[in-house]
């Protein structure tokens, strides 16, 4: 295949000699072949439509967009595996309430949890259990799955377990025998 050195020189026409349309769409987004003049004119038209669309965006679209933004950021966070207080379960639950416009008491009622318990979880005074994670999944219409909430919380747990020297020593002291290779006693 001849190498093309400028985008736009490799055209749909050339690709279609060896690939079907479906195969082209499956593998490419081709560069623009418009002249600068054409691009300027068409861009002005697109811009007008886009600005109108932005002005007319519905609350539902905004809400969906913000929830998806939260989801994308949570996925990135669990992928990085580094604890950040901003991304604690409580802080993210607080964020979810803000996005969905819920007060704590209303939300507690909606997911059938005592508002005191909810407050403790939001303020990271109480650890969430999987029950609440399932309820959050249902409340978000499965947009933010339970396992994603679980992973968010697990990062904090892992961070805590690594740093908690007090509990570590406490539990170490309860172990009567340490396994060592060669120790048959």
């Amino acid at each position: 295949m001849k190498k093309n050195n400028q985008k736009g020189k490799l055209t749909y026409e050339e690709l279609s000699k060896t690939l079907t349309d479906e195969e082209i769409v499956d593998a490419y987004v081709l560069p623009s072949e418009l002249s600068e003049e054409e691009k300027k004119e068409r861009h002005a038209e697109f811009k007008k439509l886009r600005m109108e669309q932005l002005a007319n965006m519905t609350d539902e679209e905004m809400l969906l967009g913000e929830l998806m933004r939260m989801k994308v950021q949570l996925f990135d966070y669990v992928s990085d595996q580094v604890y950040a207080e901003k991304y604690s379960f409580g802080n993210q639950l607080k964020r979810y309430l803000k996005i969905t416009g819920r007060s704590q008491s209303k939300f507690a009622e909606e997911i059938n949890i005592h508002k005191t318990a909810l407050s403790r979880i939001i303020n990271d005074k109480e650890k969430p259990n999987t029950d609440i994670m399932y309820r959050l999944e249902k409340h978000s219409d499965k947009m933010i799955p339970a396992n994603l909430w679980y992973k968010v919380h697990s990062i904090k747990l892992e961070s805590e377990i690594k740093k908690n020297e007090i509990d570590r020593k406490l539990q170490y002291d309860k172990v009567k025998c340490t396994f060592r290779l060669g120790n048959t006693g």
């Binding site: 985008k7 769409v25 593998a27 490419y28 987004v29 600005m51 679209e61 996925f75």
Partner: protein, 159 residues
């Protein structure tokens, strides 16, 4: 995210990273791509690779961020040549790259709005495959379609 190996249907873990300067040099004259991606070193270009083989670039995407229009525009996208056509080795490369563009759009607050400029013959196919819709001379994805693409290609949560 996962790519599918065509020979046995196995899912393989992949990731997308931004191309660094030295990698552009490596793409000069590459037999794996029809475009000379080395010429795009001053643009935002991302690659997709398998976690099991970080050295092989499976696909590339060039993006433009346009804050005034609150959009991410896909300038160019190419799967590597061995992953094109009827005999391609891996599936979903372009889908994952498009989903990545959408995830960036959500991250920067554009609510998943992504555009591309289609060739006329291909409009119906971008619509059928990715749910893009026509706006002027472009095709765009926005909520809720952008959510579906993310769920399908990035989060593997297809219904």
């Amino acid at each position: 995210m996962k790519l599918t190996r065509k020979s046995d249907g196995k899912s393989l873990d992949a990731k997308i990273q931004k191309l660094i300067a030295t990698e552009f040099e490596g793409l000069k004259g590459s037999p794996n791509f029809r475009f000379d991606w080395s010429l795009e070193r001053h643009s935002d270009v991302y690659k997709i690779v398998l976690l099991s083989d970080l050295d092989e670039i499976l696909g590339l995407i060039m993006l433009t961020d346009e804050p005034s229009l609150r959009r991410i525009h896909i300038e160019l996208l190419e799967s590597s040549i061995i992953n094109q056509g009827a005999d391609k080795k891996l599936d979903n490369i372009a889908g994952c790259l498009i989903a990545f563009a959408i995830s960036l759009s959500f991250k920067v607050g554009y609510l998943g709005y992504v555009s591309l400029e289609p060739k006329g013959h291909l409009i119906g196919l971008y619509r059928d495959k990715y749910g893009f819709e026509e706006v002027s001379y472009l095709m765009i994805s926005q909520v809720p379609n952008s959510q579906e693409i993310l769920n399908k290609y990035l989060y593997n949560e297809e219904e």
